[in-house]
């Protein structure tokens, strides 16, 4: 398979963990049969969205090379990342794929000066040979996020605001001139008035620095605002993916529909759909071990087959939905429950 012109290419990636003690052992599949690819020619913002426990962070660790697949393949620039083992190669990979984490105050040691992280990154990756050179590199990176070295010098994390320090962690990630920035919930700990500033920064990086951003979030409103494509995750599976305007504008998968409906809109009066009572499961863990579609127990359009077999990926125009509603099966007469199934308007 040709993976050369792809930045990242995941083919049926699976990550499973064994949980429990000696007596009771179960397998938890945190990333289940995930396939997607990112183009290396056209930078984009790709969002992985889902609720807690949907496998977003495990997938992020996989993409950072921090975890290995249990089965399936992950290619980066045409290379299987499980074969990247030599320290020099590993470093070259890390230079190209840089993370930004959720809580900026936990990313930085409170007892260390913030700038030391920036200098360390520049020196360790060999971007600069000495501190003087590094100062230029660091200043450059900080200017890209709207700060400067002078503003940051001799400051500890607590002396900076949440927005500033999160921009500094983006600046740190930019020092090795990466091709991909992987941002795991970068704005969930940042105040509302500063949030848009970070989000806009990702747009700017895509357009001006040609960096591909993988944006991991549970916040569908900011996801809609910045991303080009989105993948919705549920219990390890990607249940729907495609261009963000289509997926969130007119969701196909019943789970995406529920998610979209549950996002409170900042508009009083447009409340009817949101105010409709919903039932919540008492436990969440069970859904992981459920056979068939993980959403079957909550799905209003559930059919018998949903509880027996994993639904296939169905391609509809330029998006993919993992749901029996869009297969031949749903059109057969015995599947009466599916008659009131939502038909995505194209």
């Amino acid at each position: 398979m040709n993976t050369d012109n792809k930045l990242f290419d995941l083919q049926h990636a699976v990550v499973s963990f064994r949980i429990g003690g000696v007596l009771e052992r179960t397998k938890l599949i945190a990333v289940n049969d995930v396939s997607f690819s990112l183009s290396s020619e056209k930078p984009e913002i790709f969002t992985l969205a889902g609720e807690s426990g949907s496998g977003k962070t495990t997938l992020a660790r996989l993409l950072l090379g921090d975890l290995e697949v249990t089965s399936g393949k992950v290619y980066f620039e045409g290379r299987d990342i499980s074969e990247i083992r030599k320290p020099a190669e590993k470093k070259a990979f890390m230079k190209k794929v840089q993370p930004v984490f959720q809580n900026p105050f936990e990313t930085f040691n409170p007892l260390r000066l913030v700038e030391s992280y920036l200098f360390d990154t520049a020196l360790n990756f060999g971007i600069a040979r000495n501190r003087q050179e590094a100062a230029d590199v660091v200043d450059d990176a900080l200017r890209q996020v709207g700060l400067s070295l002078a503003e940051v010098t001799k400051r500890y994390p607590h002396e900076l605001s949440g927005g500033q320090i999160q921009r500094i962690s983006v600046a740190r990630a930019l020092i090795p001139q990466p091709r991909v920035i992987l941002a795991d919930e970068p704005v969930s700990m940042v105040d509302a008035s500063l949030r848009m500033e970070i989000v806009n920064l990702f747009r700017k990086l895509r357009d001006e620095q040609r960096v591909t951003v993988i944006y991991i979030t549970h916040d569908l409103a900011t996801a809609y605002y910045i991303s080009d494509r989105i993948a919705i995750m549920l219990r390890g599976f990607i249940v729907e993916s495609g261009p963000v305007e289509e997926v969130l504008g007119n969701p196909m998968h019943p789970y995406t529909q529920l998610l979209k409906e549950s996002v409170p809109e900042p508009e009083p009066r447009v409340k009817e759909a949101w105010a409709k009572n919903i039932s919540l499961g008492a436990t969440e863990v069970k859904e992981y071990s459920q056979i068939g579609c993980k959403f079957a127990s909550r799905c209003p359009y559930v059919m018998d087959i949903c509880r027996q077999v994993n639904p296939p990926d169905v391609q509809v125009n330029n998006r993919i939905a993992k749901c029996f509603l869009y297969t031949e099966h749903a059109r057969q007469p015995e599947a009466t429950e599916a008659q009131d199934a939502p038909v995505a308007q194209q």
Binding site: A221, G249, E267, A275, L280
Partner: protein
């Protein structure tokens, strides 16, 4: 009738470490009223004084927090309470949990992890009311849980067997067991997923609609206020910037801070560029002079740097603290 009236409240944190004293003016001149049968939203960024305000009005004033001046007075159907004067004993016996209860952000962890959920209910009821007839208590608790739409089986489960959303709803069930007049909910859904958040907020709304009491809902999430609250207060740096019925806050905000906050909210369906606000929220140990928003305000004039704007009523229940609005320039 007024349930709670807060008048010019000032509550500061005062610390003295190695001879260096520091005063953080977390709540600085706040006045507002709460009425029966409403959901009142309090919004603001982190460290704007939201939590300090709740601490004072719920009677949790412990050093280094000190209430310097102002008054916090309740009227629970004729039973009047002055939070500044009440004794700890009376607070425990008659007010806390019976008249005012409190749901916190991580309140799913109020449940004792090594005992069944029902035991936590038992502890609370025993402390505040005493249990004479265990059967009647069990019956009552089951009924209460059922009324809230939760399955009675959860009472016999251990907390770790339940999902975060279920535990948060149990925390609300605990808080409402004596049908208090005021429920204070501090970021009750911040750590939850959107679907679960919706379930928890719906339950809170249903309880309020049924028992016609007052809910004080504190969250930084404006979208939650839009869907739940009847009136909203916007706090900035320890003071009230604006207060109005929810519709007005969203449709016709006046204060420059509120206007920015509303216009920058991301929404599904909108991709036009929205800007952030320059600068950072002020440090309350050393707040800016005059209007505390002036260093970040795009319209600031000389008067804003010098004089503290008073909170004026511009129309009905709509109050704003801004010089420019007062002068008719905004």
């Amino acid at each position: 009738m007024t349930l709670l009236s807060v008048n010019d409240l000032r509550a500061y944190y005062q610390t003295e470490v190695y001879g260096i004293s520091r005063t953080v003016r977390a709540v600085d001149g706040v006045s507002f009223n709460l009425y029966p049968n409403e959901i009142y939203g309090v919004a603001g960024e982190s460290s704007c004084g939201k939590t300090t305000l709740i601490k004072v009005i719920s009677g949790n004033i412990k050093p280094p927090l000190k209430a310097y001046s102002g008054s916090v007075k309740y009227d629970f159907d004729g039973y009047e309470v002055d939070m500044m004067k009440i004794s700890q004993e009376e607070m425990r016996r008659a007010v806390r949990w019976k008249e005012i209860s409190y749901v916190m952000q991580g309140s799913m962890s109020v449940l004792n992890p090594v005992r069944k959920v029902i035991k936590t209910f038992e502890d609370i009821v025993e402390t505040h009311q005493g249990i004479r007839d265990r059967k009647a208590f069990l019956e009552q608790t089951r009924m209460h849980i059922n009324q809230l739409g939760l399955p009675a089986e959860v009472l016999d489960a251990y907390p770790h067997q339940l999902s975060g959303g279920m535990r948060q709803r149990l925390a609300i069930a605990l808080a409402t067991i004596f049908h208090p007049k005021l429920i204070i909910a501090d970021e009750p859904t911040t750590a939850l997923d959107v679907v679960v958040q919706r379930g928890v907020l719906q339950m809170l709304k249903n309880i309020q609609a049924r028992s016609k009491n007052t809910v004080l809902l504190v969250t930084h999430d404006m979208a939650v206020h839009a869907n739940v609250a009847n009136r909203v207060m916007i706090m900035y740096a320890g003071r009230i910037a604006e207060e109005a019925p929810t519709e007005i806050i969203f449709k016709a905000p006046r204060h420059p801070y509120t206007r920015h906050l509303i216009s920058s909210l991301p929404m599904i369906g909108v991709r036009e560029t929205k800007t952030g606000l320059r600068g950072a929220p002020p440090n309350l140990a050393n707040p800016p002079s005059g209007c505390r928003f002036h260093p970040r305000c795009p319209f600031a004039e000389e008067i804003c740097r010098v004089e503290v704007p008073e909170l004026i009523t511009i129309e009905g229940q709509h109050r704003v603290a801004c010089h420019l609005v007062k002068e008719g320039k905004l």
